[in-house]
Point group: C2
Chain length 377, copies 2
Amino acid sequence: MCAARLLVDVHTHVYLPRYATMLRSRAAVPRIIPWTGGEERLLILDHEPSGGRPVGSQYWDREEKLKFMDRHGIDVSVVSTANPWLDFLSPTQAQEMATELNADLEEYCSTGPAIPDSTTKRLYGFGLLPLVPTVSVDALLENVKQIAAAPHLKGLIMGTRGLGKGLDDEALDPVWAAIEAAGLVIFLHPHYGVENSAFGEKENGHVLPLALGFPFETTIATTRLILSGVFDRFPDLRLLLAHSGGALPALSSRLASCIDHDPLVAARLKHDARYYVGKLYLDAVSYGPEEMGFTSEVLSRAARYKDITPSKMIANRSEGSKRMLFGTDHPFFPPLNSVEKWKSVVENLEAIEDVQGWSDADKEGVRGANAVSLFSL
Amino acid sequence: MCAARLLVDVHTHVYLPRYATMLRSRAAVPRIIPWTGGEERLLILDHEPSGGRPVGSQYWDREEKLKFMDRHGIDVSVVSTANPWLDFLSPTQAQEMATELNADLEEYCSTGPAIPDSTTKRLYGFGLLPLVPTVSVDALLENVKQIAAAPHLKGLIMGTRGLGKGLDDEALDPVWAAIEAAGLVIFLHPHYGVENSAFGEKENGHVLPLALGFPFETTIATTRLILSGVFDRFPDLRLLLAHSGGALPALSSRLASCIDHDPLVAARLKHDARYYVGKLYLDAVSYGPEEMGFTSEVLSRAARYKDITPSKMIANRSEGSKRMLFGTDHPFFPPLNSVEKWKSVVENLEAIEDVQGWSDADKEGVRGANAVSLFSL
């Protein structure tokens, strides 16, 4: 099989059995509770509507992941623990759980199948760091080392809280340095959204926190990283943003303008904000060809803003597409009705196909070749 | 002068003298306070950095507005009271102030200059409603009537709180009906952003609340309008969104997907969320040609989602550009250094010029002809 033809899913989640057992043992959110008919429900946000989400073997059983992959023609998945990771544990618990789950995930991948006639496995993973308040930086560095040494772990997933003060906390600098040096990819993923009061009192199910809160959280976290100079200090850090970077691409010129007009911030950064956006990788989980085409323009125009005086270079969708990677968000977003292929997956694949200005090679890149290259699969 | 050549600014603010006097009399935010050297400072958000923003005659003096217009080649401005409008007043105060300020604004426009050799004035306005908790709907309807009867008021500006429960409050239905019947344009503008704790503890000046909080607020408010069925009940409502609709265009396919997967909401709306986005008007205040080109695609693709089964129509930037309108956000975003033309204005004009796929006529439309048509100038 030709690497350029692989379909690779970089946004696909798992609750490993050890994690699910821990969630079942808990009395507070996040937790898994028994439901009628022997089923279980997952509560991951406060005030979950509909009594929580149905949760089952698709979350923890490797065979179910592989069946989902087969059904959708996905050759390789880079799986990651779903939110909220270890955020709610004590430092000691988080450290122990991170170490055990990273070992579990390496085994999940290494003992899984390979692509026929290839040494490439079908499953790779993003590990976890025990990112909770008061954990020691040494403990974090230990887990970075563990992940870097695990052949099938290609990076790590993290939320936006860091040690409790967010990702713009200088205390994390040694962690960024170690991740950068190890060449690991950080998959930045939301969980908290924004304060629920913003969404009003009407019953809108999960729509507002998921459709808006999640991307807002990713946008804020990444903007705070930019403003704190993390990308100036760690120019080779490789950050993959969930949900195509949320609203950041669309607000990046406004961000640049606001920085430019604020005496407190204007002189602090080496580059225009739009330059840093071009250092990011974005999953192609945005459900529309216009969105994908646009984000590829934003990624490519970063080159325009390398120097103080922006050039007049026209954005090149083809160039920008090289930093975009297919994802499914499985096992979230199951279709309401039983169907062969999940609508959310089909929509994202069709969107990739329909982007104006992407060549066939660009589309192959987004579907898999970019991931093969980014993760050295 | 040919109407197609007019430069029309639809996003330009004023604190009329009566409003400034009221702000000076206040002991709490929002307020205007004396500053060193006979200057004044404006405090409109809690915890303003830098002791607040310099405020002066550019906020209340019509001659200053006209000078700014002349300096930037702006023929017509549709001025609106800047946030936070009347949100902080009692119902009685808000009602009285709305009525007086609407009369003041009509006079500000009607006694101002006309375009040479034309009956078109250089100044038009968006009026105010006393949108505060416990105000009577009759009072709101009185002011809608007042605005509709004022020849130079072409619509009204509003924030996102409505009567305290947001704009998805059914209590506002008679107000939408009256505004729709009068053919007035609603200019929806943010003020509150999102909960500041999301922005962390680092000193980033105004950057995060302005660059992200503002567009997030507009996005949430408009999404709540969509979810509540306002555009199904009032299909001819004309809503102009500040800052190009914030993050809504970029998140509209994600929104559609989240609605589609949520049993509580999926069956409630007549159309795909992206259809309603095409009913909106967006100012062209997004500081980048890629952003503007993209939002014009999102506006035009709405037609694809009119029916339950989306068509394969390719987005048409030219078509979408007809719902986009130049704006400056004056007197906000003054450049840090004294210059002839404001950088923010030049950037937005250059961005319009640089959009790929807009014809010269499309660009003339965004610069002015669309506003001439929308407001019947």
